[in-house]
């Protein structure tokens, strides 16, 4: 009964736009994965360190982003346990704001994050990457490292344009190493009392090339309160509409990422 080899899934919450709910999703989904019994890692790639803060960890990586990228096996030494069983964090560091430059020193910059993650795959079922809002060398490297991009979309016209941009990238075959990275969108901060939101949601769900997950995360006071509680909503308000929506989102995503069958 040798333990079966792990199939680790790397999930990046990504959007070119800022403030759309990437961090909130990464933190809550990672917590749900760990709660289900999966060893889970969240790497906070954003120098703003929002998810590091939410897990109460000091945003500091000795040697900075450069050091992390350079040596194989370096990352493990910087991982911190969160307060939640099975959920660990690779913290953000202020130096990540120059991660592009650090990546650019390697022969294949876009392959670098995947290489850094490779030795960690044996330890986790899920690895979440919480990305800064940008399109850069870092996002290219994220596309190569991730098995799936999870893209929060606020169902207001302006921000769905951002999603369409990404879709174009995907269609052009530019996402992922062989264009194999799955892209899932979900609605974030959705307000079903607003006709505009409803209309945008309906329209986007009809676009063929876009996989929009069924669960939408509602606008919610609890999600906003995460900053004060410094915990996932799934911890301090597990019965809230937002927590329930994250759970639904997670089970759908998990199903879609499961190996064939």
């Amino acid at each position: 009964m040798a333990t079966p080899k792990r199939t680790t899934r790397v999930i990046a919450t990504y959007n070119i736009k800022g403030g759309v709910g990437k961090t909130s999703a990464a933190v809550n989904l990672a917590h749900l994965a760990a709660r289900d019994g999966h060893p889970t890692l969240l790497w906070d790639l954003d120098p703003q360190a929002a998810s590091t803060y939410l897990f109460r960890v000091r945003p500091k990586v000795k040697g900075g982003g450069r050091g992390l990228l350079r040596k194989r096996g370096q990352a493990a030494a910087h991982i911190k346990a969160t307060d939640h069983d099975r959920l660990e964090l690779l913290p953000a560091d202020f130096s990540y704001r120059h991660l592009d430059l650090a990546l650019d020193q390697f022969k294949r910059p876009a392959a670098r994050l995947r290489k850094v993650l490779a030795p960690l795959r044996g330890d986790y079922d899920y690895i979440f990457l919480d990305c800064p809002p940008s399109i850069s060398l870092v996002s290219e490297a994220v596309f190569e490292a991730a098995d799936a991009l999870l893209v929060p979309v606020i169902p207001a016209t302006l921000s769905s344009r951002a999603y369409e941009q990404l879709e174009e990238l995907a269609r052009g075959g530019h996402v992922g190493r062989h264009g194999t990275t799955a892209i899932f969108a979900f609605f974030s901060m959705a307000d079903v009392t607003r006709p505009l939101h409803l209309k945008v949601m309906e329209r986007l769900r009809r676009i063929d090339d876009v996989t929009v997950l069924g669960a939408a995360i509602p606008v919610s006071d609890e999600v906003e309160l995460m900053g004060e509680e410094r915990n996932p909503v799934t911890v301090f308000a597990p019965a809230s509409a937002a927590a329930v929506a994250y759970a639904a989102l997670w089970s759908e995503l998990q199903r879609r990422l499961a190996p064939e069958g």
Binding site: M1, A2, F55, R56, K80, A81, E88
Partner: protein, 402 residues
């Protein structure tokens, strides 16, 4: 928390822990005997569990969170300064030794430490607070028996043999309970690895194990607080006292330098293991693997108790590592054999019970898998033994331990 009459009283040390750490960490009860320590960001950095209370001091187990080793070390230092004892105080049997001191004096110090550990874990073993108490209690006795066997030349047989018999008797009283503790743990692991369709069929096993454990425990508790155990403890403490005061009848090795004696024993046990291991083939019966593993434990104890404090760490450490690799393979092999035996044995008792037939079927297919595991472990034996028994390693051992 009071467990089982007045045998054990855990007075809650939360306030004392809190004030020892007040300037840097907050301490919050996390239920039971647990305390959560948080840093200034209110981040959990270490869990603390109250483990034992010998006399007036609290013995605390620290469980640092990953990435917070520095905090844990700081916390440990503060707690020690505040009069608490932490794990190494009762886990680590190591005492300082000087290679040139008399063997009887050095052996007395090692045995005294082991007796302290044994005593400290008795209340917890009786209270059934955590299976680790009984485990540590047994390891302390096994180590002491091992020291008595390997260093027997320090004693005269008339004084030694009764103590050895006593300690064997004491350890035997605890074996059934420990086995069932392990069975229960293993059963949970086995069930988790069984296919979903089989899990329900395995359900009747757990109550059976629990019944057996309760019976074994009751018997063990009676023995551990019975007259014979008390008299034995007194006799053993008394001999140890005489040994410490050099009032015992010295055996042939008593006045030799401990370094020379320990080195000789380590070389001999190592040589013996190499010889035994070379004779083992994939077709050898499980008993031969088991015998080798027992020798391996003996060597491990010798290395930990005498090798590390007395000899060059650059030699001791790689040897311990190679030995550990070998013991892991042998342990896996034996665990599987033991699990198979346990399942067969349970099967007989399950026959007459409701759900018994299904359980037997499930047991059958589990046994098949476990046998495959045991075969795999045998396959790995050759490589790990080769590392342990390599010529280079042998030369190093021959040179270093003298």
């Amino acid at each position: 928390m009071t467990a089982r009459g007045d045998l054990v009283t855990f007075d809650w040390p939360l306030d004392a822990v809190r004030s020892a750490l007040a300037d840097r960490y907050s301490a919050i009860s996390s239920g039971g005997a647990g305390i959560a320590l948080r840093d200034e960001l209110d981040k959990l950095v270490c869990r603390v569990t109250v483990r034992a209370v010998p006399g007036d001091s609290f013995w605390l187990a620290l469980e640092p969170l990953r990435g917070y080793g520095d905090d844990a070390e700081r916390i440990r230092q503060r707690l020690l300064a505040a009069g608490f004892q932490t794990e190494e105080a009762w886990k680590s049997a190591r005492v300082a030794l000087d290679p040139s001191e008399r063997a009887d004096v050095a052996v007395a110090r090692v045995l005294r430490r082991l007796l302290e550990i044994q005593d400290a874990n008795l209340p917890g073993s009786l209270a059934d607070a955590d299976v680790e108490f009984l485990h540590d209690y047994r390891v302390a006795i096994r180590r002491a028996r091992s020291v008595l066997r390997e260093m027997r030349g320090v004693f005269v047989p008339d004084e030694l043999e009764p103590v050895r018999a006593d300690l064997k008797w004491l350890q035997d009283r605890t074996s059934a309970t420990r086995d069932l503790d392990v069975y229960l743990e293993e059963f949970h692991a086995l069930r988790a690895r069984a296919p979903l369709t089989m899990r329900a069929s395995l359900e009747p096993i757990e109550p059976l194990l629990r019944e057996r454990r309760a019976r074994a425990r009751a018997e063990m508790e009676r023995a551990l607080i019975g007259d014979r155990a008390l008299a034995l403890r007194a006799r053993w403490g008394e001999l140890l006292g005489r040994l410490e005061r050099s009032e015992h009848t010295p055996g042939p090795d008593a006045a030799r330098p401990v370094g020379a004696l320990a080195g000789e024993r380590i070389r001999r046990v190592h040589r013996r293991m190499v010889r035994m291991g070379r004779a083992i083939t994939p077709a050898s019966p499980p008993a031969e693997y088991h015998e080798l593993r027992k020798r391996g434990k003996e060597l491990r104890y010798l290395l930990e108790l005498f090798g590390e404090p007395l000899f060059d760490p650059a030699v001791v450490r790689p040897l311990v590592r190679a030995l550990k690799g070998l013991q892991d393979v042998l342990g896996l092999h034996q665990d599987r054999e033991v699990q198979i035996e346990m399942l067969r044995d349970l099967g007989q008792e399950l026959v007459g019970r409701p759900g018994g037939a299904d359980a037997l079927m499930a047991i059958g297919s589990l046994i098949d898998r476990l046998e495959a595991d045991a075969v795999e472990a045998r396959g790995r034996f050759a490589a790990s033994f080769a590392e342990f028994a390599s010529e280079a390693q042998g030369k190093l051992v021959a040179q270093a331990f003298r």
